[in-house]
């Protein structure tokens, strides 16, 4: 029974929450901007002193906690950062704040596992993969995505519907299997361990070389169901036991991960629902307490919504900054300041032409591959969905624009049917592709307008610079420009 501990709310106490001046919600700022404030007075020092580091770590702690990194994990993480940061030399091009961010970022990447981890190979065929996790974490969907992925890679997977608990769980997997073109082994009238065992045998008969077993969601403290899961594990002798964790999970991720590690000998982690805007601190927590690699992340509900895990991207996301530091460095190295400023201004006036686009395209090229750059923008990957940009397609766009006359580049409206055919012929593309580019260019002008009006041009795409405002003068002393006051006046 519940004990009240002698407390019963009075009217006066109820009034507390409505009291004026109640603290406003803290809005997450990127760590870079927070540290910018901390280090305001510390420009140009050679080494990070203990006091500097302490001040910075207070901010780092808050950033990690807001990102849902577990309290205990945060503590040990900060210990490691402290050890690395005190006395560290501030690299020539960086401010002390940036130096700390860099150390934090590096340590995050190290914690997350530096390398991408491939699936363990089969010890005996068929290869066996067991999906485990809490209720609703994404096991079934992930099992199907994985099957689809392996099938695309030339394997012959078999999905096994060993969730006999949740209503219509078998139907769900069967539907997904049909969609993926992967056979599903099901039997509603048996027990999960028996089913799993039979499935491995069946795989041999069907000529399948991978078996993926979906299991019912369960709480790690549910003795009965955890014992059942252990039995399934023994029956399957899996090469991989993958814990699927919802990226929105909070502090409890450590308990869940530990619980499943103890009972099922996890071999890897998968984080689902990263297409949302959760920072995903649970990834650090679970990774730290299990020591198991994160193998994949879920980025959508469709079969193609599974990606190989990239520690760098995750670290950046956790800090809410995209890989801003790298982006700054690259931008500074490659960007022609004058040109970028002019382009930015044009964008805001929606007077951006194909000429400018071509210039920008070349600058983007100098900064690295598109995929790389995209990974550095917080939220960009998810905002763009699964359509990975290719440098080859970028070249095609460039070819089309190069086949336009200067006047066409400045006024795309000029481009009629015959011009379109000419451009297509000149660039080795089809008139449809030219059309598409024109349409999309119109679209992007609309987005620029949105940007000028202070909205993010893509849903879910946070513009790092707008958060990091305090750092401005220090981050990009050479680029911090006259553009800013102009914009302010507009508003």
């Amino acid at each position: 029974m519940r004990s009240r501990g002698g407390y019963s709310p009075s009217r006066a106490e109820r009034g507390l929450i409505a009291a004026p001046g109640y603290p406003a919600p803290v809005v997450f700022e990127s760590l870079t901007s927070r540290l910018g404030a901390v280090f305001e007075r510390l420009r140009g020092r050679g080494r990070l002193s203990e006091a500097d580091v302490e001040a910075a770590l207070r901010e780092v702690r808050l950033a990690l906690l807001e990102a849902d990194v577990n309290v205990g994990v945060t503590r040990s993480f900060l210990e490691r950062v402290r050890a690395r940061a005190v006395g560290a030399e501030v690299a020539g091009s960086l401010t002390p704040g940036q130096q700390v961010v860099k150390i934090v970022h590096d340590e995050l990447v190290t914690t997350l596992g530096r390398e991408t981890a491939p699936l363990a190979p089969a010890r005996v065929l068929p290869q066996r993969i067991l999906m485990v996790g809490l209720q609703g974490s994404g096991k079934t969907t992930t099992a199907a995505k994985l099957a689809w992925r392996l099938k695309s890679a030339g394997k012959h997977p078999l999905l096994v519907a060993a969730d006999l608990q949740r209503p219509a769980a078998v139907d769900q997997l069967e539907a997904l299997g049909a969609r993926a073109g992967v056979p599903v082994h099901a039997d509603r009238a048996t027990t999960p361990p028996r089913l799993a065992k039979a499935a491995v045998k069946r795989a041999g008969e069907l000529g399948c070389d991978v078996v993926i077993v979906d299991t019912a969601g369960r709480l790690q403290i549910d003795e009965v169901l955890m014992a059942e899961l252990a039995a399934v594990r023994r029956a399957v002798e899996p090469d991989e036991v993958l814990l699927v964790v919802d990226a929105m999970t909070g502090q409890d991720a450590v308990n869940v991960a530990r619980g499943f590690l103890e009972r099922t000998d996890l071999t890897g982690l998968i984080f689902s629902k990263l297409d949302g805007d959760a920072r995903g601190g649970a990834a650090i927590s679970a990774r730290e307490v299990t020591g198991r690699p994160i193998k994949f992340v879920g980025v959508g509900e469709g079969l193609d919504g599974l990606e190989v895990f990239h520690p760098e991207r995750m670290a950046s996301r956790l800090l809410g900054m995209g890989d801003v530091l790298t982006l700054i460095e690259k931008a500074e190295a490659a960007w022609d300041r004058e040109q970028a400023e002019a382009a930015a201004e044009k964008m805001l006036r929606a007077a951006f032409t194909f000429e400018d686009f071509l210039d920008q395209l070349q600058q983007v090229r100098r900064m690295g591959s598109l995929g790389q750059l995209l990974g550095m923008l917080p939220g960009a990957a998810s905002a763009l969905g699964t359509a990975e940009p290719s440098d080859e397609a970028l070249s095609r766009a460039e070819a089309i624009i190069r086949s336009m006359t200067p006047s066409e580049r400045r006024a795309p409206k000029l481009i009629d049917g015959s011009r379109r055919r000419r451009i297509a012929a000149g660039s080795g593309t089809s008139p449809q592709q030219v059309n598409e580019l024109l349409r999309q260019f119109g679209e992007s002008q609309r987005m620029m307008k949105a940007f000028a009006e202070g909205r993010s041009p893509l849903p879910g795409l946070a513009l790092p610079g707008r958060r990091a405002q305090k750092m401005t003068p220090k981050v990009t002393p050479r680029v911090a420009s006259k553009a800013a006051p102009k914009v302010k006046k507009k508003r």
Binding site: Q360, P464, R466
Partner: protein, 338 residues
């Protein structure tokens, strides 16, 4: 299609750099939807307390250690960390501890009482009863993927049925594989009628069909299941808006829009509550999976910042595992009882 991406990417990268040049701060928009109302006494507390047992133990152990000692810096940090470890979040944890500290409690026991008061104060003064308004009364259940919407509907329908209100269930999750079958299994078990549509069909059409059917049959309550969706996906939120709008047509009235929050959710829960409220006017929250080790502290943050009342809690997978939210029991459980 690739070109689409291309342009977007090139522009996005250019914009990012432009953003560095422009450094402007976007003012946070605070959606204040607080709607305080007279307290309605909550019921069935014993069940909640037992469902919350793990919460109590875990946090209780921490606090037991804390409350033994003196009120030094470590004490206050420990207090803050205990709240953080329950997913209360930085803003709420810091704010709450600050207020307790400011009250100047003489000793640990007094600090503890003040903390309890502070937490209870967050939940005080909100109507947590379900609004069964409209003919028929309409309850729409929304939330992110996998939070427990469909199961909650089964539980809720079972309880309504026990009170002589057999609800009509609307399977308006036309998206997820076998979502209709899942609700159908529950409808079958409970002996309730369900209206469904085509896989991939228009969810608003299913909802409207159900409403029409309920009218024709003189049903008093319609409960609408919706597909899980991440609140950051604009098109999906618009789709949801349409479902709710359609239900308000022809003199219809949506009495409750219940947001199902997974009890293991961290700070993202606030963004969820904010976005779903902006899109469809959430009237209450269902906090699920409190039978696990998660403590559901996100409820503190959500009520404190947005003022949306938690109305129900889920403490298991069976239909009887849905309880009215009892703030006192919840706070007691969060603090580990005494």
């Amino acid at each position: 299609m690739l070109l689409v991406v291309l342009i977007v990417v090139a522009v996005a990268v250019a914009l990012a750099v432009a953003a560095f040049l422009l450094w402007r701060r976007r003012r946070p928009r605070v959606t204040d939807v607080r709607r305080d109302a007279p307290t309605v006494p909550a019921a069935a507390a014993g069940g909640l307390a037992s469902g919350l047992a793990p919460t109590r133990r875990a946090l209780g152990e921490r606090l037991a250690g804390l409350f033994g000692g003196r009120l030094d810096a470590a004490f206050w940090t420990g207090l803050e960390e205990a709240l953080l470890a329950a997913d209360v979040g930085v803003a709420a944890a810091v704010g709450i501890v600050e207020r307790v500290r400011a009250a100047g409690p003489p000793d640990a026991a007094a600090a503890r009482a003040a903390l309890r008061r502070e937490l209870a104060g967050v939940f005080a003064g909100r109507d947590r009863s379900l609004a069964l308004r409209g003919e028929p009364a309409v309850i729409v259940v929304v939330g992110v993927n996998g939070s427990g919407k469909t199961t909650t509907i089964a539980k809720l329908a079972a309880q309504l049925q026990q009170r002589g209100l057999p609800a009509l269930l609307a399977a308006a999750d036309t998206f997820r594989a076998a979502a209709t079958e899942q609700l159908g299994v529950w409808a079958g078990r409970l002996g309730l009628e369900m209206v469904a549509g085509q896989q991939g069909g228009d969810p608003a059409a299913v909802a409207f069909d159900a409403l029409q059917r309920a009218r024709a049959r003189g049903k008093e309550v319609v409960v609408v299941d919706t597909a899980g969706r991440l609140h950051s996906k604009r098109n999906l939120m618009e789709e949801l808006g349409k479902v709710v709008r359609v239900l308000g047509r022809d003199g219809g009235e949506v009495g409750e829009v219940l947001l199902v929050l997974d009890g293991t959710t961290g700070q993202n829960g606030i963004a969820q509550a904010r976005a779903f409220t902006a899109a469809v006017g959430v009237t209450g929250i269902v906090l699920t999976k409190l039978d696990g080790t998660a403590r559901g502290g996100i409820a503190v943050a959500v009520e404190r910042e947005l003022g949306i009342p938690v109305k129900l809690v889920g403490v298991g997978e069976r239909v009887e595992d849905l309880l009215p939210f009892d703030p006192e029991a919840f706070v007691d459980a969060l603090l580990g009882g005494s």
